[in-house]
């Protein structure tokens, strides 16, 4: 049968693929700008993503200011408000979170963690970044065209998104759709690289079941993205044709401003299906890498192997598969056959099983562990709390009968910001604090890091937790202003002001992080090769930061899984993946 009886720690078989020829940069331009090295591409991706992320953060202040002080700020009119809502959502979900997890951490960590010299197709990988950058520029350029960016909401539902009443009708919506199409093209190039590198370019001894969970999360997310983005691609192409050529894919016959439009017989619901066929997996495209990273952060900083590694892997796969068949739960209020509602509710709630399994395993990893409350660990723990919180409200919204009254309220805003806004962002911060020493060779300031954590974590809770109550009160989302609304009590307005003040403060407090990030580049304490005493492969590079080709002359050979912490009899309390086996050792 399988080789279960063979000792696991014998030397791995010889290399199946000869070592790759690498492209060697000859000039500054090819080394730092049009660079084919995944590590540089990763930093380009992450830098661009963070830059647009800051723009989206500022837009969220515009939203909050309007909600707290309706009409008091002169430049925020209804159009600006809707444009801000739209751009904030789209940038955060697609151009920031997806890009930073897959393009940023994926590019940096996959080759290092699986023991490859680079991504399998460095040239295509480089193109991926540049197409992504163009997509981002096209999106941002919509601020500089007449009419400004589209205000259709990040879901871009037709018919409203391409009618003249919506802000950005002239150019904004076209630029948005073109930008998304470009993003998908660029992402596909990168995604193919990530998937093939994980599948086909691992080093000797690196079986799939010896990969760190970070790689598993990013890998599963990249596969899902390759299958889910086609839905958005097709939706964007068809919506673009509806807008520019006057086709009627999504547009029924309708009268706008007393004028009969030329559209006839299209199906707006079709757009929603296509959009959410992408949109729901997208949640997990962001969440799965976060799951993986958090598993590694917890294991390293608690000096304990991850609890139930195999189950963690299967849970990632199960979540990935299930998340492709739940998109209808975004459309309960669009009108749906009750049987379909039932199907989508069941699949949605079923995702709670593998997800809960992961949460239990994280907690059990922490149980009786030697927990070091470093900044990355704090962020990982913060993720656990916010994620469980957001996940539980997800169970509410997964039920049709609860979703229908709550769907259009701030309860939904609170839910998805907890689960796919705050939780992944906390992981991104934790991951930056964790891998910064490897990327730069210097430590970030722990004291500033902890201040940053507590402000961000408590602040995020203070912002989004009250929104649950506002939602249950019936406070609608996306409304420009409430006016005199009988069912919303005056205290809700006060709460909105409190939320806004905290949101502004927490937003500004992120400057602590950026100060720390840039200051530590020059003035951080030298980190050495492996400051966290971590076992996974990326910490075992001969140079820090890793040089071109990552591994010097010889690729590493892997003898065990990446979670060999607190091993009895080991010289230190951990065994790196590439350390030769001890006598009598039997590790996975």
């Amino acid at each position: 049968m399988t080789d279960a009886s063979v000792p696991q720690n014998v030397a791995p078989p010889p290399a199946e693929v000869e070592d790759v020829e690498l492209y060697h940069a000859h000039s500054w331009i090819t080394k730092y700008v049009f660079c084919q090295d995944a590590k540089v591409i990763a930093i380009q991706y992450a830098g661009t993503a963070i830059a647009v992320g800051i723009l989206a953060l500022v837009l969220s202040w515009v939203i909050r200011l309007q909600l707290a002080f309706p009409g008091a700020i002169p430049f925020i009119d209804a159009s600006v408000y809707y444009q801000s809502v739209t751009m904030h959502g789209m940038i955060m979900v697609v151009y920031m979170l997806t890009a930073i997890f897959l393009g940023g951490f994926g590019n940096y960590l996959i080759p290092l963690m699986v023991g490859a010299r680079d991504m399998v197709f460095p040239y295509v990988n480089m193109l991926s970044y540049w197409v992504y950058l163009i997509a981002t520029l096209v999106l941002v350029s919509s601020y500089f065209v007449p009419g400004g960016p589209t205000g259709a909401g990040w879901t871009l539902y037709p018919p409203q998104s391409i009618l003249t009443g919506t802000p950005g009708y002239d150019y904004g919506i076209i630029l948005m759709l073109v930008s998304l199409i470009l993003f998908i093209v660029g992402f596909t190039m990168g995604g193919l690289n990530y998937v093939v590198t994980v599948l086909q370019a691992r080093t000797r001894g690196m079986t799939l079941m010896r990969m760190p969970l970070t790689v598993w999360g990013i890998f599963a997310a990249a596969v899902m993205a390759l299958l889910a983005f086609p839905g958005l691609f097709v939706a964007c192409v068809m919506l673009l044709l509806d807008r520019t050529l006057g086709t009627s894919f999504f547009m029924p016959s309708l009268v706008e401003l007393g004028e009969r439009k030329d559209y006839v017989g299209g199906s707006p619901i079709l757009f929603q299906h296509l959009f959410w066929f992408f949109g729901h997996p997208e949640v997990y495209i962001v969440a799965l890498p976060a799951f993986g990273v958090v598993s590694d952060l917890i294991s390293v900083h608690a000096r304990k192997n991850i609890f139930g590694y195999r189950m963690m892997v299967w849970a990632i796969i199960a979540i990935g598969v299930l998340s492709m068949v739940v998109w209808g739960h975004h459309m309960y209020v669009s009108g749906m056959d009750p049987w379909f509602g039932f199907f989508f509710a069941v699949t949605t709630l079923a995702i709670a099983v593998p997800t809960a399994l992961k949460v239990y395993n994280w907690v059990l990893t922490l149980w009786h562990a030697d927990i070091h409350f470093t900044t990355p660990m704090l962020f990982a723990l913060g993720f656990l709390v916010t994620f469980v919180n957001g996940g539980i409200t997800g169970l509410y919204l997964g039920n049709v009968i609860v979703d229908v009254p709550l769907s259009a309220t701030l309860f939904v805003v609170a839910h998805f910001h907890m689960v796919m806004g705050i939780a992944p962002v906390l992981v991104i911060f934790g991951a930056i604090y964790h891998w910064y020493p490897k990327i730069t060779g210097r430590m970030m300031d722990e004291r500033l890091g902890k201040i940053h954590f507590w402000i961000t974590f408590l602040g995020a809770y203070a912002i989004f937790f009250p929104m649950h109550y506002l939602g249950v009160l019936g406070m609608p989302r996306r409304f420009y202003e409430m006016g005199e609304t009988a069912f919303v009590p005056a205290s809700a307005a006060t709460l909105n002001i409190v939320i806004t003040v905290i949101a502004l403060a927490v937003g500004f407090a992120q400057s602590i992080f950026f100060y720390n990030l840039f200051k530590s580049l020059k003035h951080g304490a030298p980190a050495g090769g492996n400051p966290w005493r971590a076992a996974s492969l990326e910490w075992q590079t001969p140079e820090t930061p890793p040089g071109h080709g990552n591994w010097g002359k010889h690729l590493p050979v892997v003898y065990r899984w990446p979670y060999a912490y607190s091993v009895p009899g080991a010289p230190e309390d951990f065994l790196p993946q590439n350390a030769p086996p001890m006598s009598g050792e039997h590790s996975p």
Binding site: L192, N193, Q200, P230, T247, G266
Partner: protein
């Protein structure tokens, strides 16, 4: 019972099935490579094609949805796609020729792959050029078909024969497929040139990367080409025959 005997049994025993499933899992999760016989390029092309399958599926499912949701009657394909030849209207004749043309090109592509691996450079290159010719002819016939329909008043936003979505779907889907064929023709020409010159024998760096190309690129090109043919079969079935 030994393993050799098990395969001759009519029904697979549970034990055998279990061990084979575990064998697949063990292969996939094994050291270094999940697909032992696939190079990086081939694996990448396969995965790209899976993703592209989803794109075409979304296009076709969307087309079927609007065809069912539209309130006006759908034009009759066998009348619209008919040609006047010698005073007789022959339904779907052009599409039949186009389909035959494209499937023939798949045959020449497969032969090119075979000759490339046999290092018969000239034959491989010529067969790739023939494939490219068939591809170009396909795009040419598509252009003819588009011209004819446009002359008859079919537009993306409407047509005199029935539902407006007919023109929208037709131009979008055949256009997207034609774009795939055109890209394929372009790459066929580039690779045929490299094969003809013997680039893959002397290890000249490829035009995209600085890496040495290998004859396998012909097979990877073939994967793409066969995929584009296969997609056409589905478009033919769902758009023209329905």
């Amino acid at each position: 019972m030994t393993a050799e005997h098990v395969t001759t049994e009519p029904a697979m025993s549970e034990e055998t099935l279990r061990s084979r499933v575990l064998g697949v899992v063990a292969d996939w999760s094994s050291d270094q490579r999940s697909f032992k016989s696939a190079s990086w390029g081939k694996a990448m092309m396969w995965i790209f094609l899976v993703s592209d399958t989803f794109v075409f599926s979304c296009f076709l499912i969307s087309y079927m949805t609007v065809r069912m949701s539209t309130t006006v009657e759908w034009p009759h394909p066998s009348e619209i796609f008919a040609l006047d030849i010698g005073g007789k209207k022959i339904p779907l004749i052009l599409i039949a020729i186009m389909t035959f043309d494209l499937i023939t090109s798949s045959g020449t592509m497969a032969m090119a792959v075979n000759f490339a691996y046999a290092r018969e450079r000239k034959k491989a290159a010529i067969l790739m050029l023939v494939t490219a010719f068939f591809g170009a002819a396909f795009v040419g016939m598509q252009a003819f078909e588009w011209t004819k329909l446009i002359h008859e008043g079919v537009r993306p936003w409407g047509n005199p024969f029935g539902a407006a979505q007919f023109g929208s779907s037709f131009f979008m889907i055949t256009g997207f497929h034609g774009f795939h064929v055109s890209v394929g023709v372009l790459f066929l020409l580039i690779i045929a040139r490299a094969v003809w010159r013997g680039d893959y024998d002397v290890g000249r760096p490829g035009f995209f990367t600085s890496r040495k190309g290998r004859y396998e690129i012909v097979e990877i090109m073939g994967l793409y080409w066969h995929f584009v043919d296969l997609v056409w079969v589905f478009i033919f079935a769902f758009f023209y025959l329905w």
